[in-house]
Amino acid sequence: MKVSFIRPSLSSIFKPILFQTLPNRPVNFSKISSPPTSLKPQTPLFLKPANYRATLSDLKKWQLWAKNLATSVGTKFLDSDNGPDSALLLRELGWLIQDAVLEGPTSLSSENNPSEVVVSLRACLVDLYLLWKQRIEERRPFQYLVGCEHWRDLVLSVEEGILIPRPETELIVDFVSDVVKENEVLREGLWADLGTGSGAIAIGIGRILGSCGRAIATDLSPIAVSVASYNVQRYSLQDKVQVKQGSWFEPLKEDEGKFAGIVSNPPYIPSEDIGGLQAEVGKHEPKLALDGGATGMNDLLHLCNGIASMLRPGGFFAFETNGEKQSKFLVDYMENESKGSFFDVKVASDFAGIKRFVTGYRAT
């Protein structure tokens, strides 16, 4: 295949081909008890059957083309909106190969004659050209390309319509882990992750709770509910983590006052900032997951107002915020507006040193 074969104009021709090759459904989808919607989540690239073949030399041609494309970016994206630089794009390319090539990256360094060696692929070569073009030219997030995100020790399925879980958010699971380690009541209790998206936090929590511990994951978005269910299924947590559709506390009504812990990473970006976001985020990720209203605090405040009545006495909460300003505001708000309802309300930083989280306990 010639590099020049791929021209922008051709992507429209390839698109139908791409989507014809992507209909693979999770084999075990039918096992999901009763999917609340009819949406079918996509299978991540690394789980697809390796139904395609290419000669090593053709694959190498693609790799070289993709490398050049990545290198040509330089720091252009970084300078314009804090996007990825070439070094990062090259690392992503390596991971794309990891996910797409059955034999893994070592086959690319095979010493045999590359025009005779045939490798098995999980996507056809045309798709690989197309995908990488989308990555560079449309700034389509890498995680949507490969249909998954590595998060903590999990590999979560993600797709358009789902917020790609962020590294910062991993810490929420660490907080919960610290809390349940010392407290059996909380460890064996009922938890909730509100606005679960891919299901990341809920699955992380589901794996550290005790044998009686349960978690409910909710989201307003039907795609989120379907993808989260798929991810819960992939980690065989369907008996531990229940996915429900609905707005914030609404799906939790029947368990009001019973929760051992509630965590959430709700949309928190002020509306006016949405336009200036990094292209990968602003152009591709769902607004519903990002836009927190004029101050960005609409959903956070809603959650703060309702949480006291949902938690059992001594129950734990953790919220992710936009940073210092929101965190401080929330701490003050919880201490003043709902005097005596909470204790040990604290701000915690992420690894970049940004005051990212508010945590605390419902008063006993």
Partner: protein, 489 residues
């Protein structure tokens, strides 16, 4: 002695079913018929070891019936090998010998010419085996080993041993490993002498078939002991561990960073060739080419044992492709090799509160604002200032775990060095320490040669070396450092 020889025969029979023919049994029994005394005191017997030959003094003992009785004696107690191993103190004092008093030392001293394997001269085989055993003992630092085993045994016997279960576990593990090594060597010695006895006996009996088989067994042993020589090179405490290999570019800009990446490439290929798992943990690319530094993790048995030979500075001489005038340059890369001791074996207890964990190279508001696959993490151990970074994993969690593993190993290495009262000084990277210790030169211009300064071993095919063909360098260094030690054993 008599008993043990007889038992050797029965164990010989067990191990070599070929011999269990009526004919052999008959000749064995007939040679015993004149014996009439049966000694029950094994301890005395082994102390009687004064070169009394079974064949010379057939009248010494016992009659037919005792063969039956002997078979009932649990072989684990009396059988030569186990006997010596369970009585390590006694064994150290009493040197095993053949029935006519020939010891392994004696074979060595005889200096019998060693011929090719296909020559059927048993003395040649015996001599070769004795030499191998000698070399193995030397590599194992035999005398020190015996002292250490004794010391550990004393500690194991202390009644309060298990008050500190971690320490006790370490002691009993080390004791187990070292006794295993010790017994293996003793087993070889014993076996060699048994074979010789068997050959002598078969000659006595004019049993050519038996002799042939015994010589065959000797040849077999000659081969397997030869293989063990190599294994004994890797008898260090941490040799069997996996390891990290760190490469750090010296001064000299792009040329030197390019050299660092060539060195790293050499190790990746070497490790792949050996079938080890290789994973890049940390890599800091140069601005134009090459790497400033990098760390790889090499997983597999004896990865550290081999790779430790590479610790030090590696020097390159060539015409630099990065020099517009194409002048000759000399550059250095420092290599540090750090064993991964594994869970439960770490020497340094890291306190969570001593750590600072940072997002490496982060900018902007983060959180929902940013979608990046970059989740590199840097961990700083505040008391020592040692840091570790990892950016090659796909999640922050895994990057953190990986960086922690590097940090743990670096601190372990530091702690071991401190304990060895070597050099308690640390730097950011252990590799930096190595620049002073130049171990090898790679000359690509005006001639091509790779030479190890520690062993003077050299080859002219520099390309093959840079392709990872470094086993010969490693083995020559390992054997030189263990074998040239002039203290006997």
């Amino acid at each position: 002695m008599m008993i043990s020889l007889l038992l050797k025969k029965s164990s010989f029979l067990q191990r070599n079913p070929l011999f269990s023919k009526p004919q052999f049994c008959f000749s064995l029994l007939s040679s015993l018929t004149q014996s009439h005394k049966f000694s029950t005191s094994i301890q005395n017997d082994s102390n009687l070891n004064s070169g009394i030959s079974f064949l010379d003094k057939k009248n010494n003992w016992f009659s037919l019936f005792s063969l039956k009785r002997l078979e009932k004696i649990p072989s684990g107690i009396f059988c030569g090998v186990n006997f010596y191993s369970s009585q390590s103190h006694a064994a150290a004092a009493v040197e095993p010998s053949t029935s006519d008093g020939l010891t392994v030392e004696g074979i060595l001293a005889n200096n019998w010419t060693i011929l090719d394997e296909d020559e059927s001269d048993w003395k040649s085989h015996a001599s070769s085996i004795a030499q191998s055993i000698h070399l193995i003992k030397k590599r194992l630092k035999w005398k020190k080993l015996l002292v250490r085993v004794k010391m550990l045994s004393v500690q194991l016997d202390k009644p309060d041993l298990w008050d500190d279960p971690v320490q006790a576990g370490k002691i009993s593990r080390e004791h187990g490993i070292l006794t295993g090594k010790m017994n293996e060597v003793k087993k070889f010695e014993q076996e060699l002498l048994e074979h010789i006895d068997m050959i002598k006996l078969s000659r006595e009996e004019n049993d050519t078939e038996l002799e042939l088989e015994a010589v065959k067994a000797l040849i077999q042993m000659r081969r397997s002991v030869k293989e063990k020589e190599l294994e004994a090179l890797l008898a260090g405490e941490h040799d069997s561990c996996s390891c990290f290999i760190e490469v750090q570019a010296g001064a000299g800009g792009t040329e030197s960073m390019d050299w660092a990446s060539m060195v790293m490439q050499m190790y990746k290929k070497w490790a792949q060739r050996r079938g080890y798992g290789v994973a890049v943990v940390d890599e800091m690319p140069g601005e134009i080419a090459g790497i400033k530094r990098a760390t790889i993790r090499v997983d597999g048995e004896y990865a550290f044992g081999y790779a430790k030979a590479e610790d030090g500075a590696h020097r390159l001489v060539r015409c630099s492709p990065f020099d517009s005038a194409n002048r000759r340059h000399t550059s250095f890369s420092a290599v540090a090799v750090i064993p991964i001791l594994g869970e439960g074996f770490s020497r340094y207890q890291i306190k969570e509160s001593d750590l600072r964990i940072e997002r490496f190279r982060s900018g902007g508001s983060g959180g929902q604002h940013a979608n990046t696959t970059d989740s590199a993490v840097r961990i700083t151990h505040i008391p020592t200032g040692i840091t570790a970074t990892c950016q090659n994993e796909r999640s922050q969690h895994s990057n953190k775990a990986s960086a922690m593993a590097v940090l743990q190993s670096r601190l372990d290495k530091l702690e071991m060095a401190r304990q060895a009262q070597m050099n308690a000084q640390h730097t950011q990277s252990l590799a930096e320490n190595s620049f002073g210790n130049q171990i090898r030169s790679y000359v690509l211009h005006p001639y091509r040669m790779v030479k190890d300064h520690r062993t003077d071993y050299e080859v002219s095919d520099a390309d093959s070396v840079l392709e990872g063909n470094i086993d010969d360098f490693i083995l020559s260094y390992l054997s030189a450092s263990l074998d040239n030690d002039e203290d006997e054993l």
